[in-house]
């Protein structure tokens, strides 16, 4: 899960330390696009992801208006390939294809929202800590150290378990888990940027703090934490579905992949393949996010492609 955090932070900090201050030029983005166009894996996974997003957002369209909550006792646990239910039905006779499409909405939301929240909160706290330094900086960073001391999934489960289940609590729990690494990256980059010659020069010539942060600090911080955030989405999707799987996230009868996997678990002896499907969706989505973030990273890494 977010086991990758440690080596990730280390790698990002390395990247940040090596080559921050070159502001991307228009030619740079053209080069990135050219490199991406030559990378079939990244293009393929991006297309798959767009497909998943399409069937989730366009769920009423692709399922022909089937009600994701309407089941029938007579149609319980049908196998894959049943006429009218091409992916089978779940334990209360609801069409699985329909539920998988609708489930994508909550699963993607519950995965992406915590990353966005922690990106903003963590970025803000990190820039604050790095720029203000002193007591404020120490206070923020030492608090983050404490949260670093928890294995991420343990902290998420503890918070979610105590706040009670529900989508919003699972989002809060995961945001808290993802904030510390974001703060660390933002703080390191900010501290480095603050000492750069041209930032010193800007300050000496009377540029206000807000302007320096907006023009110089933010430009340097955004790159590394955005890269980190994209790689975090895959982890976040797995964890949020995991919370629902434990019964701590989204509540029934809502459609969400982790919850569906949990409720179909009992049916594993009756319809094994149907029971494994929601998990396969989680896997495919997280795999695609991982590969896409890898692809974008190497396309954007100037040093790899001289």
């Amino acid at each position: 899960m977010s086991q990758t955090t440690a080596d990730f932070v280390r790698r990002e900090l390395q990247v940040a330390a090596d080559a921050p201050q070159a502001a991307p030029t228009p030619g740079y983005w053209k080069a990135v696009a050219r490199r991406l166009a030559r990378d079939p894996v990244t293009i393929a996974v991006t297309l798959v992801l767009l497909g998943i997003i399409f069937i989730s957002l366009g769920a009423p369209l692709v399922t022909g208006g089937t009600d994701p909550y309407a089941g029938s006792v007579l149609a319980r646990l049908k196998p894959i390939g049943t006429p009218g239910h091409w992916l089978g039905t779940d334990e209360t006779g609801r069409d699985l294809w329909t539920r998988l499409c609708y489930g994508g909405r909550l699963s993607l939301l519950a995965g992406i929202l915590p990353v966005s929240i922690s990106l903003m909160v963590g970025g803000f706290l990190g820039i604050l800590a790095g720029y203000a330094g002193g007591i404020v900086g120490t206070l923020i960073m030492r608090t983050m150290d404490v949260f670093y001391a928890f294995p991420s999934i343990l902290l998420a489960i503890a918070i979610c378990g105590l706040l009670g289940n529900g989508l919003s609590n699972s989002v809060i729990a995961l945001s808290v888990v993802f904030i510390p690494p974001m703060v660390r990256i933002a703080e390191t980059v900010t501290t480095q940027a603050r000492q750069l010659d041209f930032v010193e020069a800007a300050r000496a010539s009377g540029t206000t703090t807000m302007q320096i942060i907006r023009h110089h600090v933010l430009a340097n911080v955004l790159g590394p934490i955005m890269v980190y955030a994209t790689s975090l989405i895959s982890v976040s999707i797995i964890l949020s579905a995991g919370l629902s799987f434990l019964g701590l996230g989204v509540t029934p009868p809502q459609a969400e992949w982790g919850l569906m996997l949990n409720s179909l678990r009992q049916a594993i002896y009756v319809q094994p393949y149907v029971a494994a499907l929601p998990g396969a969706m989680i896997f495919i989505t997280s795999m695609c996010f991982n590969l896409m973030s890898d692809g974008f990273r190497s396309a954007m890494d100037v040093r790899l492609n001289k």
Partner: protein, 312 residues
Amino acid sequence: MLIFAARRLIQAIPILLGVSLVVFGLVHIVPGNPIDLLMPPEASPEVIAQMKAAFGFDKPLYIQYLLWLGRALRGDFGLSVFNATPVWGQLVAALANTFVLAILAAMLGFTLGIVCGLVAAIHHGRWPDKLFSAIATTGVSLPHYWCAIVLVLACAVLHDWLPAQGMGDDSLPLYDRLEYLVLPVVTLSLIPMGVIARLVRATVLEIIGQDFVGALTAKGLTRWPVIRHICKNAAPPVLALMGLQFGYLLGGSILVETVFNWPGSGNLLNLAIFRRDIPVLQATILVLASFFVVLNLLVDIAQAAIDPRIRR
């Protein structure tokens, strides 16, 4: 070296205190007293007050924290609110079961990860690299609770190779009890395998590009001695990640333990959440997080022992 170790040890104390504060605070950000949530609505106020006094929930928060911390330091986590048995005993039994899984999964995952990463790096850009990198990425992207279900499906439902869940009886012969370990251990080892393989590959590739490797080859060293030098230089970051990974195996096995119904600490935590058993919950999280801190401490010291540059 000793000074470094001592300094690192002292740094860990405020972190541990912070951890205890978070664990204690988490319970109290939720409105309502733990006893109020547990008692039936028809219970008389006197009985509720009596229960609160018995479990110490009637005192001000900071007193509760200090009392709790003082007892926790002596290994006394009180009684479970659910079944009034000592928390410590439940926790030790559960932790032992989790340890068995974590150690076996770590051994399997780390070995496979190092081998995959090394092979991929040495054959950089050719098919072994692509194959092992793909395996590593899969390992990182797998929702392991799903992987557990798929393994049960393949080995216990479709075929009758291995037991689907539980940990077997004490009465069973050793061989039969080992069968219960296979699926959870394999499931748990996949993530460490992927993560370690990716890091080993990246680190080794970075080191291969350095001048000293070229110098060693130029001096006439054959392939294996050069690889040995590379491994020694790649060890510190890999070791650090292994420590973290082992911590995650201990603290993050809750999902896999739930699927396999393994009576470990994750399962205990899960039960505590659904029973609203605050003492058990607090103790489990505190002990697991403290393990994690101590583990990181040990890894830092081990790293410094291998690589003098880290000591500073």
